[in-house]
């Protein structure tokens, strides 16, 4: 037994070696606690953390929303949400105990008395426990309320508390353009320090997205070829087979570029292209991601049609279902110019990636749901053998499948059995589902835990968000100015034929 006795300035000696590190006692205050995101994702995620014993040793949840209700009604709402949306059947004993410690504060988000009540509750929890709880405020509201709530937290001195870490989690979207994102960041950072702000991009909470880092930086195999010398081009696809459903109110104002490209797809691009971080700390990783985003020259709005294409789905058949076109969806204006499909050609102008086109493509009502990154390598420089009578040698591809079947596929040329040297592509396939016993946790479970722990690695920083908007804003400006028509594609297909105009000669989009 050689471990030195603990000192208060040392790490907790009991935590060393534990798979699950302690999280300090925390009060989680959810604004918008009765909303859709809270009911479908947050409350079930919190239950699952409780079930697994992964919440802090002492934990309270305070729900806050505009609809006033007694604590009991909020608990009942939370129970129903957890029972309906939890990924596992709730254990009644755990659920009851979790609900017991929930409180509710009703009131308009501009209403000072709501914040007084929150402060009062926090104080009561501290006093009852004889400790100072950490505070996490989760803003699960409409984006227009984000700055207001943060400013109110500041006015009511809830933005800091002696002896406690105070953090604020902000849901997406962070603005609808660069100016709004900057304004939001400025207003938030006028109250809080950046280290207190946790901007959610739930894509980053997905195991497979984190696996991009593992694939790149835990394997010597890929790094030597991960550059312009070997990579010919990259395609990042986020395709959905569903339409907009009942989200016309949000979607018609946002469109494909804001909905998926500005946040999730640029995150995938950054993770794919970033340099190895000096450590796996939050800022070291985010520093490298921001460098990649800064290396993408903002498009010229006057020439946006040369690098971006927008389209919307027309009626068609998805699977065996006949579906309406976008303009016929409920809640969509008949003259809407909102794209449900966007394809871009970007270039990362640095030593590693200069000259390598990176194509991004996303859309709704496409042939199937798939999210993947396909890296196509350059062709071999010389073929010493004839391959007549076969499809021949194709450039190698490395495909990182994010969903639905998470894995990595590498295409190789292989000899067709027989007396002649004929080649065809074959796949070497690795599927995460076959190689690990564990079920991936829901992204929100991971992100809530990280926010309570203060680990910002999987959250976006202010400069990161602004760098993303810097790329997307000129495209939106060009489109708003009428550059590039809104093409149409039949629902259930791979998208508009016009998307091919973005590709270089000889290139083609991967089949969806």
């Amino acid at each position: 037994m050689t471990v030195a006795p603990p000192r208060t300035d040392q790490a907790n000696p009991l935590a060393e070696g534990l798979e699950r590190q302690p999280i300090r006692p925390t009060i989680l205050t959810v604004f918008g606690a009765t909303g859709d995101l809270s009911r479908r994702k947050l409350l079930p995620a919190i239950y699952n953390l409780a079930h697994e014993g992964a919440l802090p040793e002492r934990f309270h949840l305070v729900g806050c929303s505009r609809s006033d209700m007694p604590h009991g009604d909020f608990r009942e709402m939370a129970r129903n949400a957890i029972e309906e949306f939890s990924r596992r059947k709730p254990d009644e004993k755990v659920l009851s105990k979790l609900l017991e410690d929930m409180r509710f504060v009703g009131g308009n988000f501009a209403d000072d008395s709501a914040y007084d009540k929150i402060a009062e509750l926090h104080g009561e929890f501290d006093e009852q426990a004889g400790i100072v709880f950490n505070r996490v405020f989760y803003l699960s509201t409409a984006p227009t309320f984000f700055p207001l709530i943060v400013e109110k937290l500041g006015e009511h001195e809830l933005d800091s508390h002696e002896g406690a870490d105070v953090r604020v989690v902000i849901e997406k979207p962070i603005g609808t353009n660069l100016a709004e994102a900057r304004e939001l960041n400025q207003r938030v950072l006028a109250v809080l320090d950046e280290s207190q702000v946790f901007r959610i991009d739930h894509y980053l909470g997905k195991e497979t997205v984190q696996n991009i880092l593992a694939l790149r930086f835990a394997n010597e195999l890929f790094e030597p070829i991960w550059n312009r010398n070997y990579v010919d081009y990259v395609q990042i696809t986020a395709a959905e087979s569903v339409g907009i459903g009942s989200r016309a109110g949000y979607y018609d104002g946002a469109g494909a570029l804001r909905d998926l490209v500005q946040n999730h797809m640029l995150q995938l691009l950054a993770l794919l292209c970033m340099e190895p971080p000096v450590s796996f700390s939050a800022d070291a990783i985010r520093d490298e991601k921001v460098k990649v985003l800064h290396a993408i020259h903002p498009p010229d709005p006057e020439r946006v049609e040369e690098m971006a294409l927008r389209a919307r789905y027309a009626e068609g058949v998805v699977g065996d279902e006949e579906v309406r076109g976008y303009l016929d969806e409920d809640g969509v204006a008949p003259d809407s110019q909102t794209p449900t499909y966007a394809a871009l050609r970007l270039e990362v102008d640095n030593w590693r990636w200069a000259g390598v086109p990176i194509y991004l493509r996303t859309g709704k009502r496409l042939a199937r749901k798939v999210t993947e990154i396909a890296i196509t390598l350059k062709p071999v420089p010389h073929l010493a053998f004839d391959h007549e009578g076969s499809v021949g040698v194709q450039p190698n591809q490395i495909v990182l499948a994010v969903e639905p079947n998470e894995g990595v596929t590498i295409s190789l040329g292989a000899k067709i059995p027989g007396s002649r040297m004929r080649i065809r592509p074959v796949n070497m396939e690795f599927l995460y589902g076959t190689a690990f016993l564990s079920e991936s946790p829901e992204a929100y479970e991971r992100l809530i835990t990280d926010a309570m722990r203060g680990d910002a690695t999987l959250f976006t920083r202010d400069d990161e968000v602004e760098a993303q908007w810097t790329i997307v804003d000129p495209i939106l400006a060009g489109w708003d100015a009428g550059r590039g028509p809104v093409a149409e594609y039949e629902a259930g297909t791979s998208g508009p034929a016009e998307a091919d105009t973005l590709l270089r000669p000889g290139e083609r989009w991967r089949a969806i």
Partner: protein, 354 residues
């Protein structure tokens, strides 16, 4: 979710025939659909008494998603001289119907005699998937079978609470640990308790109390003395205590460990009201007058903190994992490496094996 299975069986068979049958089952399944893939995570070799084979298979079924990708159950029966076997390949029916990737696991049951155990590696070796970690679990004893398999296994799964004596269990664990990585279910039973004790002392205001612990009591199911000893071993090791021997009657052991600031009274007390293997409670006392008690309760652990200023109680949320959950966790841990077990085991043996 229901499962879809392809099954093969043969009396008086050989490892080569079983291996061929497994490959044939895979071909058959692939012929049913393209989105079908065998899991390739780890091999689990189980040595069990044939009379209890059903109970073992039920326990393995209960581990759910932690099911090994290939499980080979060696059901041992006195006097049997031939090997009978059946093999199956199962995937989730829902995945197949929905056209999703269906990940399948393979199960092989070998019914064999005690005379096969000394060279069990020769029988099992052709059946394990090469290049995957192989785990051996022998819940009904048969140490000769485990010894025979140590050449092909990297991990041995044990449960020290099932041995007749804690001392014997810990000695056996230490002996096995010299030859393979040991996953001890008794250690995993203490995981939530280790996490909770660590959490309790994590806030800076409570951290100094770790240096002045004066007493540590562990309450346990009467057959789980080894789990209790491992918990004490862990705490002592992490805090730099010098362990002393625990003495007394079975079910009530007492002793002291020496810390930098004084002695620590250690007690292991059996709790007859505890219905399942594992721990039922812990109490930590410090020289400053703090007493922290954690006990199993509804919906988690019931925590009680007593100081000179009064008493507080709360529930640390968490669902019981149950025996199936513990076994599943044991299989999952076979893919990881827990550096805490070895030092805790060594410290526990110093206290309980003297």
């Amino acid at each position: 979710m229901s499962e879809s299975a392809a099954v093969w069986s043969e009396r008086g068979t050989t490892p080569a025939k079983i291996d061929a049958a497994l490959r044939e089952l895979l071909k058959e399944r692939r012929a049913h659909g393209e989105r079908y893939a065998p899991a390739r995570v780890l091999n689990l070799v189980v040595v069990a008494d044939r009379d209890w084979q059903g109970e073992i298979l039920n326990r393995l079924e209960g581990v759910g998603r932690y099911h090994a990708s290939r499980t080979i159950v060696c059901a041992v029966e006195d006097g049997r001289d031939e090997i009978d076997a059946w093999a199956s390949m199962e995937a989730e029916e829902d995945d197949i119907v929905a056209g999703r990737l269906a990940v399948a696991h393979e199960d092989v049951v070998l019914e064999l005699g005690t005379q096969h155990l000394e060279h069990l590696d020769r029988i099992v070796d052709p059946l394990v998937v090469t290049d995957l970690p192989t785990v051996v679990w022998s819940p009904h004893g048969h140490p000769e079978a485990v010894d025979a398999l140590l050449g092909l296994a990297q991990v041995v799964l044990i449960d020290s609470v099932t041995e007749p004596s804690a001392r014997g269990a810990l000695d056996r664990a230490a002996s096995l640990a010299e030859q393979a990585y040991v996953v001890d279910l008794a250690w995993l039973r203490s995981t939530p308790w280790r996490e909770r004790v660590a959490s309790t002392f994590d806030p800076p205001q409570w951290r100094p109390e770790l240096a002045c612990i004066s007493g540590f009591t562990v309450r346990y199911c009467p057959d789980s003395e080894a789990a209790a000893a491992l918990l004490v071993g862990w705490l002592g090791n992490r805090l730099g205590w010098t362990p002393g021997p625990l003495t007394g009657e079975p079910g009530s052991l007492h002793g002291t460990a020496r810390g930098d600031d004084g002695d620590i009274a250690i007690s292991l007390e059996a709790d007859p009201s505890m219905p399942i293997p594992g721990l039922s409670g812990v109490t930590v006392e410090t020289r400053s007058g703090l007493m922290l008690t954690l006990d199993r309760g509804a919906g988690g652990l019931r925590a009680r903190r007593t100081t000179t200023e009064g008493e507080q109680s709360w529930t640390v949320l968490g669902a019981s994992r149950g025996e199936a959950g513990i076994l599943g966790e044991g299989i999952r841990q076979a893919l990881l490496r827990d550096k805490g077990y070895g030092p805790a085991l060594a410290a526990a043996r110093e206290m309980i094996c003297q």
